[in-house]
């Protein structure tokens, strides 16, 4: 699956390691994308982040209201300091707030993944104008 590799020994001065090298030699066009069976190192890491985030999301979004069904007496009692009923706070503030925090967390994680694999979005990715025989069509140094 790593035939036809691209350019890729970029001098990113960065991350050593087998994993990163293996990743850089992967040709994505030959890599099957299956959300349940990640096949490259990057996809594995990425999907770990995604599934973790999604699981936490389910809890912050649906957790408070479900807890209210399961334990109504505790949930409707008033919290100290702020004075909200627990369930109201959990739903009205926990829900949106939780998603916001998760979103920032995810974006940070992705940035870290990018660093790990030496990906730089701000570097201009030039395309040798048009008719090239570049065998990788789209990923350049």
């Amino acid at each position: 699956m790593s035939d036809n590799t691209s350019h890729d020994t970029r001098p990113d001065g960065g991350v050593p390691g087998d994993v990163v090298n293996r990743e850089q030699q992967t040709d994505y066009l030959q890599t099957e994308i299956n959300i349940l069976k990640p096949s490259t190192p990057y996809m594995r890491d990425h999907l770990k982040v995604i599934w973790t985030g999604f699981t936490v999301w389910i809890f912050t979004t649906f957790g408070p209201v479900t807890a209210t069904v399961l334990a109504p007496d505790i949930m409707t009692s008033t919290m100290p300091v702020l004075g909200f009923p627990w369930h109201y706070f959990g739903i009205a503030i926990g829900g949106p707030g939780g998603s916001l925090l998760l979103a920032a967390w995810y974006a940070r994680k992705r940035d870290q993944l990018d660093e790990k694999y030496g990906i730089d979005h701000s570097a201009p990715v030039t395309d040798p104008g048009g008719q090239t025989t570049a065998a990788d069509g789209g990923e350049e140094a």
């Binding site: 209201v65 949106p96 916001l100 974006a107 992705r110 570049a134 789209g138």
Partner: protein, 561 residues
């Protein structure tokens, strides 16, 4: 929606609202709409003398505000506080559903869409599934979504308009209907004018004006009525215990199931809305796509954390000044829909301040409707007309078709909003159910499972459309079936409510799409590679969509795989 709705509903007259012509608020509304036009004109797109030269990038915060501005509709501004006041904890399902969906969008769709890089949602469906029929269905769905969503906005325009302009007393038309028509006409005029002037939407300005109007109203109301000082978003907690149990007691108005169904429908609907996804095609790169979403969620949260406070204040003021908000007859849904304005008025603030808040609500409705109409009309002119019917269509021809579609949308919306059977937020939710049922599965499966093919997509989308129509017919939405009474089948009404039907339909569409895709042929190799390209972490060359990267590769090495 089983909220208690007394009979005076048919006249749609919010009780307690000071319905009369007010000069200053009328001037403020006009000024606000004009300012959008003027700013759009001043900051209109400068000529791009050379399209091949890199221009100015749009940063994360600006993109984020555009995302926030997209969400400042009558549903967020007015409708949410309405449902929180009317239906207590059930109303919070809307707060949760309309914010948390953005996280799902972020992790599953944002970056991948950026790499796919087309123009519109039907573009994605048509190209990913190699099918003009799929494209057409997606375009029709986009048009439908724009239409249904706009009906909610029209209702908001009509109700708030009553505060600003009063009831003109046109024979045959109720005050609400006259106002609704007036502002819908203003919306179309606004679109036409901005088209002629070349004024583009300035999303940053729009967002700022609307959030300021809302927050000023909230702070002023809280302070004037003695509820809060510096942070009403937290201080309203004290008020909750004073309000009748129905405000905060869980599940007294609606069941747990309905709460979950609604939240699911709204969250996943967010990920299926064409006009939301389109923005991701145009951001600079994937990192920008991610961080813009984070900022967008922040700007949205500013409003969404404030709305419950407004609802609390409003409920209390209503109960003190008009009649107890809960019980029989309680607050009508018409009054609830304008609770934001009503609260500001009842707390004794001067009419210009109330007018400012009201103007915000109307401006939100007009701006959102304008945007929706463009999304709907572009589905017709770009996706159906230019891509399927007349492939050689010039820009001018497309523009003509687009303009006609806008007029058509306007007329349809006005007709449907004549007698809307539900509150603003509910009307808008129907559009979300549609998006979650028909489009989201296509986006998700299209991007994450390369095996999804044309047959699967077509079957899935058609199934989705049918499934969406069932509860709509069952509950008599838009007064169509049985003059509004609908089919009235209880089992469906309980387990597949129109307001949250996606909880049932979306999984079904997933199953159908997957099964049919497995039973039929693999999609072509180029298509599968296109999907793979969307997941590759390496930044793509500036001028490539995923499709083109693959096309290049295939040209260069024909003996592929």
């Amino acid at each position: 929606m089983a909220a208690a709705v007394p009979l005076q509903e048919s006249a749609l007259l919010p009780e307690g609202l000071n319905v009369s012509f007010k000069l200053l608020p009328a001037a403020i509304v006009s000024a606000m709409m004009l300012s959008f036009l003027v700013i759009g004109f001043i900051y209109k797109v400068a000529d791009t003398d050379d399209m091949w030269v890199a221009g100015r990038s749009i940063g994360n915060i600006e993109n984020g505000m555009a995302i926030g501005a997209n969400w400042m509709s009558a549903a967020s501004y007015l409708g949410m506080a309405a449902l929180i006041a009317l239906s207590g904890v059930y109303g919070l399902a809307f707060v949760v559903g309309w914010t948390t969906g953005y996280f799902v969008l972020l992790i599953f769709l944002a970056a991948q869409m950026r790499r796919f890089g087309k123009y519109t949602a039907p573009d994605f469906v048509g190209d990913r599934f190699n099918s003009d029929s799929a494209r057409a269905i997606a375009a029709i769905t986009t048009f439908l979504i724009g239409f249904v969503y706009a009906i909610g906005q029209a209702r908001g325009m009509g109700l708030v308009g009553l505060y600003i302009f009063g009831d003109p007393g046109i024979p045959g038309l109720s005050g609400y209907q006259s106002m609704m028509i007036l502002f819908m006409v203003i919306t179309i005029g606004y679109l036409a004018l901005s088209g002629m002037l070349g004024a583009t939407k300035n999303m940053v300005f729009q967002y700022l004006i609307l959030i300021i109007a809302f927050l000023v109203g909230l702070y002023a109301t809280g302070w004037a009525a003695g509820y809060s000082t510096i942070l009403p978003q937290l201080e309203y907690a004290q008020l909750i215990s004073a309000l009748s149990a129905e405000f905060s007691e869980p599940f007294v108005n609606e069941s747990y199931y309905l709460w979950i169904a609604t939240a699911v429908s709204l969250a996943f609907g967010t990920c299926g809305l064409p006009h939301v996804l389109v923005r991701f095609y145009t951001v600079d790169n994937e990192r920008t796509a991610r961080w813009s979403t984070v900022w967008g969620l922040f700007f949205i949260a500013l409003l969404y954390l404030s709305a419950p406070a407004y609802a609390a204040f409003g409920t209390d003021l209503y109960s003190q000044n008009i009649r107890p908000a809960f019980g029989d007859p309680g607050m009508t849904s018409a009054a609830a829909d304008v609770i934001v304005v009503l609260a500001t008025q009842l707390s004794g603030l001067p009419s210009w301040l109330v007018g400012f808040v009201a103007a915000g609500g109307i401006a939100a409705a007009v701006a959102t409707t304008a945007g929706l109409f463009i999304a709907g009309s572009s589905a017709i002119s770009h996706d159906i007309y230019a891509n399927i019917i007349n492939e050689d269509a010039s820009q001018r021809k497309q523009m003509i078709v687009g303009r006609l579609s806008i007029v058509a949308l306007g007329v349809l919306t006005m007709a449907a909003a004549f007698d809307p059977q539900a509150p603003i937020a509910a009307l808008v939710s129907y559009a979300f159910s549609l998006a979650a049922t028909v489009l989201f599965p296509m986006f998700f499966l299209g991007l994450w499972w390369e095996r999804t093919n044309r047959q699967g997509a077509l079957t899935g989308m058609i199934t989705g459309l049918i499934l969406w129509l069932i509860p709509m017919a069952n509950e008599g939405a838009f007064g169509i079936v049985n003059g509004g009474a609908g089919l009235g089948i209880d089992v469906i009404a309980t387990w597949m409510p129109a307001i949250g039907s996606a909880i049932v339909s979306m999984p079904l569409v997933f199953v159908v799409t997957i099964v049919v895709s497995l039973m039929t042929d693999n999609p072509p190799q180029e298509t599968r590679q296109m999907v793979r390209q969307c997941h590759s972490p390496r930044p793509m060359a500036q001028d490539r969509t995923a499709e083109e990267v693959v096309a290049r590769r295939t040209d260069d090495s024909p003996a592929d795989d």
